[in-house]
């Protein structure tokens, strides 16, 4: 029996993960709700002055989205490890890196995309100027996949352990610093009326690098973590 072609396998993988996520719609809503709650707390803590909120809006939205993604990161492979389907995937004839890439894509669609969709609402709550909004969305669109890809490598590394929630945050922090800096830098530059293309170009470069390397690293990490 011939194994199905790569494109078929990829499509099947993506469809499976999206179907599974759709059946547990409540889980998709959780990070969104979390981001809303965190953003709502900032005006209460800092006072409702427009100028202050405007100044911090971009950074707050970025950090909130990052934290919300961290919340959902833990679950990226956990159900697949529990029912053993991840080990089947490791044994499958298709390249593991490609299959994991599809899983990461599905995870990004189900957690990061909803967050990007409500990002204008979050920004509006903090009175971010409308002209800056497109830059913020573009920065999120470039930064969130980088975070998903980096996070996937770390989740794969912790696949063989029990407790990983806080550990994941500890490991992700040093890795996500550059992405946060460039994304926030672009928003800040746009807010001050300066050219904002350069940091976004750096982010895009990081994304290209991560898209190529992270699935390979993820596959290697998974083989280490599951190799008992």
């Amino acid at each position: 029996m011939n194994p199905p072609g790569l494109v078929t396998a990829c499509a099947a993988m993506l469809r499976r993960d999206l179907t599974l996520a759709w059946r547990r719609r409540g889980d998709i809503a959780m990070p969104v709700l979390y981001a809303l709650i965190v953003t709502m707390l900032f005006p209460f803590a800092l006072g409702p002055e427009d100028t202050l909120l405007q100044r911090i809006a971009g950074g707050v939205v970025l950090v909130t989205v990052l934290l919300a993604m961290l919340l959902a990161l833990d679950a990226m492979f956990s159900s697949d490890i529990e029912d053993g389907s991840l080990e089947q995937l490791v044994l499958a004839p298709q390249p593991l890196a490609l299959m994991l890439g599809m899983k990461i894509l599905a995870h990004w669609i189900t957690t990061a995309l909803p967050l990007i969709v409500i990002a204008p609402l979050l920004a509006g709550m903090l009175h971010l100027p409308g002209a800056v909004l497109p830059v913020l969305l573009l920065a999120l669109l470039l930064a969130t996949p980088v975070l998903s890809l980096l996070g996937a490598v770390l989740v794969a590394l912790t696949a063989g352990t029990r407790r990983s929630g806080m550990l994941l945050a500890l490991m992700l922090l040093p890795l996500c610093v550059p992405a946060v800096i460039f994304a926030a830098g672009a928003v800040a530059a746009a807010q001050q009326g300066l050219p904002w293309q350069a940091p976004l170009a750096w982010l895009a470069a990081a994304l290209v690098l991560a898209v190529v390397l992270a699935p390979l690293a993820c596959a290697a990490a998974l083989r280490i973590a599951l190799d008992a």
Binding site: L157, T161, L170, M171, V177, G185, A206, I224, D227
Partner: protein, 252 residues
């Protein structure tokens, strides 16, 4: 060509041989560390004259700068050992990489604390988001991540391999972080402080610094040897050579 070198290295990689080798070398390393440390401290605290700008506060550099160098040097050692551990699956390399991490974290912590103790009288603040300081803080988190991941696994060797992978990712990450933090600093011009202006350091101040650098290097070797020896005993618990050591140390 000297063909005994690869053979000798190969032998050294076996746990019982390394255990004896490290045990024989460790007292010398510790003695050298103490010797250079005492010379460096005497030279730095007593002999070196006060700086004409910073007074006596600059004397913190005799521990701050060597610790900062060690924090990076140990990360490099850890990265090389991690690479060897992953590629050739040598048990000793795994142990060296994992036991380097706590020492590196200790030196990074010293660097951060002494740096802020130096910064307070010199530029009036405990902490500034300068590129070097921020990179050092990120380095501390990298160390902590490696240590945390290593201890999260039930199986020591599997944990060591996973943490070694993380250490290698960290090595790629450090220059990226440094570059991005530099860029970020130029963006926020207001908060930059010119800490490390071009300065020529006098010989009276330089030689204690070099002596302290040597002392920390030797200290690292001594501490690493002790840690590796302990770890090898724990890892090789069922083997004959460990049994002999356990029995002989029970009698003394």
């Amino acid at each position: 060509m000297a063909r005994w070198i690869p053979l000798w290295l190969h032998k050294l990689g076996s746990p019982p041989t390394f255990y004896r080798f490290a045990g024989a070398l460790r007292p010398w390393m510790l003695a050298l560390a103490l010797l250079f440390g005492l010379i460096g401290l005497y030279g730095g605290l007593v002999l070196a004259p006060p700086d004409y700008q910073q007074g006596d506060a600059y004397r913190i550099i005799f521990i701050h700068v060597p610790s900062a160098w060690m924090s990076m040097f140990i990360y490099a050692v850890m990265g090389v050992a991690a690479f060897i551990a992953l590629v050739w699956r040598i048990k000793l390399a795994e142990v060296v990489a994992m036991e380097s991490a706590p020492i590196g974290a200790a030196f990074t912590f010293i660097t951060l604390v002494t740096g802020s103790l130096w910064g307070k009288p010199m530029w009036g603040t405990w902490w500034t988001w300068d590129a070097r300081l921020t990179s050092e803080l990120v380095l501390l988190f990298l160390y902590l991540g490696v240590i945390g991941l290593y201890h999260a696994f039930e199986d020591r060797r599997q944990g060591a391999r996973a943490a070694a992978f993380l250490a290698i990712i960290g090595i790629i990450n450090v220059p990226i972080v440094h570059f991005s933090v530099n860029w970020w600093n130029t963006l926020h011009q207001g908060s930059t402080v010119n800490l490390f202006g071009p300065s020529k350091i006098a010989w009276d101040m330089l030689w204690p610094l070099l002596s302290m650098t040597l002392a920390t290097k030797f200290y690292y070797a001594a501490s690493l040897f002790r840690r590796v020896r302990t770890d090898l005993l724990a890892l090789e618990g069922g083997k004959d050579w460990v049994r002999k050591i356990a029995e002989s140390e029970a009698r003394t």
